[in-house]
């Protein structure tokens, strides 16, 4: 690229980037500012962006008054087991799609892409009825099963693309060295694919942690994940924005941190197909 003038750098690059970054994180800054503002100070006619007397009372009240620990625990269980179940099922499947040619391979791989676009409304009502029938409503397993409807198709595609990036010669070398095909898979290929598998698992964790709609329908008082707990704060009291923003910050933070670790891997996996065209 040709060298640009420093002034045009400022107006052509830094200024617009700054505006976009502010648009992206502005809502968070405001949310955080609200969360450390005393409830009374939030509703004053004279507007301040940052509070005069910063406080942690909203965060404390989440745990003392609202049982937020319990919500974190529920979210953790559901997200963790959704990720583990998803990987346990899709790692072998993706390995098979990537390594073997067999009758029906392409249509089966295609169906995972097609079901990815089914609207949630196509599944949620019958899942509700089915789970009521087998008696798992309002239990962790209900959400883990429901979340698998979107994590399994997604994960199959991601992992297949990660496995495709690993040369087939590696499998062949393992076979020549006397491994069985199953051994070649878990001794040689899985360790090489581990970064991709981990980031897919973390991505599943994040989507399960974030999910709201299934949780709203399939759980009530026994299991209450963070998104539901936050949504309930709107109904139970008149909206206490200090409390709500504190809960928002606490639930978004782990996800953002996790995401920073996997963004590179994830983007590689997702763009692999698209960039090649």
């Amino acid at each position: 690229m040709a060298k640009r003038h420093p002034v045009s750098d400022i107006f052509g690059t830094y200024l617009p980037i700054l505006v976009i970054v502010l648009f992206a994180i502005g809502p968070y800054i405001w949310t955080f500012a609200s969360s450390i503002t005393p409830e009374a100070e939030l509703y004053r006619p004279d507007f301040r962006f940052f509070p005069e007397h910063p406080t942690s009372e909203n965060y404390l009240r989440l745990f003392t008054k609202l049982n937020f620990t319990r919500n974190i625990f529920d979210s953790l269980i559901v997200a963790l087991f959704t990720a583990l179940l998803g990987l346990a099922i899709t790692v072998p499947a993706s390995y098979s799609f990537s390594r073997f040619k067999f009758k029906g391979r392409n249509p089966m791989l295609m169906q995972f892409l097609v079901i990815n676009m089914f609207p949630i409304m196509l599944l949620i009502v019958p899942l509700f009825v089915m789970m009521k029938q087998i008696g798992i409503m309002d239990k962790h397993i209900a959400l883990i099963a429901a979340y698998s409807t979107f994590t399994i198709p997604f994960s199959t595609w991601m992992l297949t693309s990660f496995f495709n990036a690993i040369p087939l010669d590696l499998d062949k070398a393992a076979l020549i060295d006397g491994c069985s095909r199953i051994q070649a898979m878990y001794r040689v290929i899985l360790p090489v694919a581990m970064p991709g598998i981990m980031s897919t698992g973390i991505y599943i964790f994040i989507t399960a942690w974030n999910e709201y709609l299934y949780a709203a329908i399939l759980t009530s008082s026994n299991v209450r994940t963070i998104p539901i707990a936050l949504q309930n704060m709107i109904g139970e009291f008149s909206i206490e924005w200090g409390l709500l923003t504190a809960g928002g910050v606490l639930s978004a933070l782990p996800v953002i941190i996790l995401f920073f670790f996997i963004q590179k891997q994830l983007i590689t996996g997702m763009t692999a197909g698209a960039v090649k065209g």
Partner: protein
């Protein structure tokens, strides 16, 4: 990919490996889907169990003469088109900027991705608070800047509710476009630009003759993925307005949800869900076909 098969002709291992995934998919996706299709031809209202039974096309006939169905349908189009267009434009500008060399580029890229991982509930709550008609940030800023005199109840009046939610969705999704397009930009060989420069091409020519055509596959795929996602997304709407005020923010998935959850009418809700799916299938196949056609030409 030119993969040589690692196996003999009659080999069960590949099937054994995919069986768990297929079995679960059948149990939690295909089985429910067929049930929904059955419900869509049934009268099935939760609190009237004695009336449950097949009624043929009645629900579909009802839908086509239901003004709320048509307004939800047109809202769905407004929803999809405006969100995709603005997410794409903002994402493209962001990608082009991030493709330059500047100090702090890595940090800027990471920060810009944050909205994309934000839980929908948090997106909805943050924006709802910012739009608040009494103390919200946006009203405060607009009135300080002298743009408005009286605070606007953005989400409480039907003229502004839809637009306000659309802005929140643009915020949540533009980083996905930015990051996909950035990956596409980085895959364009630098030599193309160098060669064009030697031939005396202007910047504008470089953009429209090299960048756009080379980005085309990424653009087309990303738009497809996003369209499906945006068409189906309803949680932000539900939390911000619940479909109101009136029916002004009812899209098809919202209408279907409200029918099931508030109206307990599983039959009609399923009909709306099936119609939404058919609509989506038509859009997707039409889109893919027109791409294939343009590639042949």
């Amino acid at each position: 990919m030119g993969h040589q098969p690692l196996q003999k002709k009659t080999d069960l291992l590949p099937y054994a490996l995919i069986t768990p995934a297929l079995a679960i998919t059948v149990a939690i996706i295909f089985l429910p889907m067929f049930r929904t299709i059955t419900y869509s031809f049934s009268r099935y209202i939760l609190y009237k169990p004695q009336e449950k039974g097949l009624i043929g096309l009645d629900n579909y006939v009802t839908a086509f003469s239901d003004p709320l169905f048509w307004s939800s349908l047109s809202n769905t189009f407004v929803w999809i088109i405006s969100i995709i267009v603005f997410q794409f434009l903002l994402g493209l500008v962001t990608a082009l900027l991030l493709n330059r060399n500047f100090i702090g580029r890595g940090i800027a890229r990471s920060l810009i991705l944050i909205p994309w991982v934000t839980p929908s509930v948090i997106t909805a709550l943050m924006w709802r608070w910012m739009y608040d008609g009494n103390y919200g940030l946006i009203n405060q800023i607009l009135s300080k800047a002298g743009i408005i005199r009286e605070f606007i109840p953005f989400l409480a009046q039907s003229s502004t509710a839809m637009g306000s939610i659309i802005v929140a969705l643009i915020w949540q999704g533009f980083p996905f476009f930015a990051i996909m397009l950035l990956a596409g930009l980085q895959a364009i060989p630098e030599e193309l630009y160098e060669a064009a420069e030697i031939d005396g091409a202007t910047k504008g020519q470089c953009f429209f003759r090299i960048t756009v055509p080379m980005l085309k596959p990424v653009i087309l795929t990303t738009i497809l993925l996003r369209t499906i996602w945006v068409a189906n997304s309803l949680d932000v709407i539900l939390i911000m307005t619940g479909g109101g005020p009136g029916y002004s923010t009812h899209t098809l998935p919202v209408y279907s949800y409200v029918k099931a959850y508030k109206g307990m009418d599983f039959g009609y809700s399923s009909t709306l869900a099936v119609l939404l799916t058919i609509l989506l299938m038509i859009i997707v196949t039409g889109y893919v076909r027109s791409i294939l056609k343009s590639q042949e030409a």
